[in-house]
């Protein structure tokens, strides 16, 4: 009998594809599956999760004194307590800027083996086999963890099939109050500032228009924004373009930026280093424009144009505008 718990990122209460995928992965790995959510004591968030295919939902009730954005220390102490209380064998969390701060410390405290940013997890014999990209995605490491070792794994967004929702089953919601001691809170969050960039959310957009080092400066990104408006898509960039200051880091796609999974990923002047592809390889159709016919990104692309983006981009934008407006 093994127990897998899927931790939902604090503050994320919409059941999206990523949540359904990680849940379906969890169901394929153990006998018992739980969803764990963080619930401020004045809200009832569990309702949104009750039509998902799992055995129970644990709502961890956290004192509202800790605010709406919970400090890492509080999240880690709550989960440490939860894992011990409920005998969890495997913790699964979607890899994100949030889980990056939580999972390694949780694993260490629970003497668990940790597999970060997995793109495949399955049972092999008595072991859990996790595949994770290493060396910036240029190589894959397969990690084999014995069955009797507690485990924590983060999973890359877009991995796993979408699980079916269940309508004929009422999933029990169990409220828990984790034991948190006053001394657990050591690093306070004084302020959280978010400013959603204009246009659709990059990580949810169906079309992403991305630019890289090959664009050579900030001005071309204005042209990418124009194309994005025509297509109803979002603009993104490689880390090189962000580090050069051509566009804000909020638009960075890659291993250490955002992970995008659009239907169409249109790249201009991006060579396709593995570190960048780590953030966009889940796109269903990659279309690339690059002046170097040997650019790596063509290996992952469905369609490619070898040419000067300065000329291809305006021509493409003009034609796309006409075609889209035909309807």
């Amino acid at each position: 009998m093994s127990h897998t718990a899927v931790i939902i990122e604090q503050g994320h209460h919409n059941v999206d594809e990523t949540t359904q995928q990680i849940l379906s992965l969890a169901n394929s790995l153990g006998d018992e599956t739980s969803i764990v959510i963080f619930q401020p004591d004045n809200a009832n968030l569990s309702e949104k999760f009750t039509n998902l295919n799992c055995d129970q939902i644990y709502a961890l009730k956290i004192d509202s004194v800790h605010g709406t954005t919970l400090p890492d220390d509080i999240v880690i102490s709550s989960l440490e307590w939860f894992c011990k209380d409920k005998n969890v064998d495997l913790i699964l969390i979607t890899k994100s800027a949030w889980s990056l701060n939580i999972a390694p410390r949780l694993a260490f405290r629970n003497k668990a083996a940790y597999a970060h940013d997995c793109i495949d997890i399955k049972i092999q014999g008595n072991n859990l086999s996790c595949v994770r990209p290493v060396y910036g995605g240029n190589a894959l490491a397969q990690i084999s963890i014995p069955a009797d070792t507690p485990k924590v794994a983060t999973v890359r967004a877009g991995v796993g099939q979408i699980s079916e929702k269940v309508s004929n089953k009422i999933v029990p919601v169990i409220e828990l109050e984790p034991e948190i001691k006053a001394k657990d809170l050591r690093v306070k969050i004084l302020k959280t500032v978010t400013e959603a960039p204009e246009g659709p959310d990059l990580s949810k957009a169906e079309i992403v228009v991305a630019g890289g080092r090959g664009l050579g400066g900030p001005e071309p990104f204005e042209k990418l924004r124009e194309l994005a408006r025509v297509l109803g898509g979002a603009v993104g960039a490689s880390r090189a373009a962000c580090d050069a200051g051509w566009i804000d880091h909020n638009f960075q796609i890659g291993l250490t930026g955002k992970t995008v999974t659009p239907n169409v990923y249109l790249s201009f002047g991006i060579s396709g280093a593995s570190q960048h592809m780590a953030g966009c390889s889940g796109s269903r159709n990659i279309v690339s424009i690059n002046s170097d016919k040997n650019a790596n990104i063509f290996k992952d692309s469905k369609y490619g144009v070898v040419g000067d983006w300065n000329i291809v981009l305006p021509a493409f934008t003009a034609a796309a505008r006409e075609l889209v407006n035909e309807n």
Binding site: A97, A141, V187, I189, T256, K258, Y303, V312, A315
Partner: protein
């Protein structure tokens, strides 16, 4: 104040993939092109973060690294940027350690150097991308842990960190001592100065070997994992769209995507 920066020597991430070869024995990727290793990029950001503190305050910066087969020119770069001391913990025992053992070796080394007010680490290393060692080190030392910094400010015994989050930032605050991980959003590391290069050439690192440390690298058998490496094939049949000139290529591409219902 005393600052320790943890740094790692890694395979140059700019190495072309065709130069990659798997060393089955050590379970490491090596370059067959003979290009030298580099200091992990995020660790250079960490050195930069420490130097900015030193610019504004009275601080002494010690860089610590765990590994084997160090290339001295690579490891002395932080000194040439302006750091004060270098401690190399080296030996075959430290080759390709798992994250928990690396953190334990760092923990023992830092105890010997003397516990600092502040430890700064890069957010992850570009070889194994585990993002794990700094956080475990903070747990072992029982230091306050502030992650993914794009800015650090100090005031008396208080540290404030501007943390990168999707579409924004957070301000974190704790008392010292603390461990901070930094991200590339912090900004470009400075170039070595001529004076720095001169002082780096004269400065000998302090060397620790396995026997100098009171560390048992086998104690984490509990989380023992077996690892295999492979290099993935990346091939999709890309259909190239080509017109008589780039302008026509752009137009044809738009029509193709429309035909497929993609736009």
């Amino acid at each position: 104040m005393n600052i320790i920066v943890c740094a790692k020597q890694v395979l140059d991430p700019e190495t072309p993939v065709s130069g990659f070869v798997i060393n089955e024995e050590s379970v490491l990727i090596e370059s067959r092109l003979g290009n030298p290793p580099v200091l992990n990029g995020f660790d250079e950001n960490a050195v930069e973060a420490a130097l900015r503190i030193k610019d504004a305050n009275n601080a002494e910066i010690t860089v610590v690294s765990i590994g084997n087969n160090f290339v001295m020119d690579v490891m002395k770069k932080p000194i040439s940027m302006g750091a004060d001391n270098l401690v190399l913990v080296q030996g075959p025992e430290f080759e390709n350690l798992d994250p928990i053992s690396t953190a334990r070796a760092l923990y023992e080394s830092i105890k010997q150097i003397g516990l600092p007010d502040l430890i700064i680490c890069g957010r992850q290393a570009s070889d194994w991308d585990n993002s794990q060692v700094p956080l475990i080190l903070a747990e072992l030392l029982d230091y306050n842990c502030l992650t993914l910094a794009q800015g650090i400010t100090l005031e008396a015994n208080t540290i404030k960190v501007e943390r990168v989050i999707p579409d924004g930032y957070q301000i974190l605050e704790s008392s010292l001592p603390a461990l901070v991980t930094v991200s590339n959003e912090l900004g470009e590391p400075r170039y070595p100065t001529l004076r720095g290069i001169m002082s780096a050439s004269k400065k000998d690192p302090q060397i620790f070997s396995y026997n100098d440390l009171d560390v048992n690298l086998d104690q984490d058998k509990n989380s023992f994992t077996e690892t295999k490496l492979s290099i993935p094939e990346r091939e999709q049949d890309c259909e190239f769209i080509q017109g008589v000139d780039d302008e026509e290529s752009g137009r044809l591409l738009a029509m193709k995507l429309r035909e497929d219902g993609l736009i």
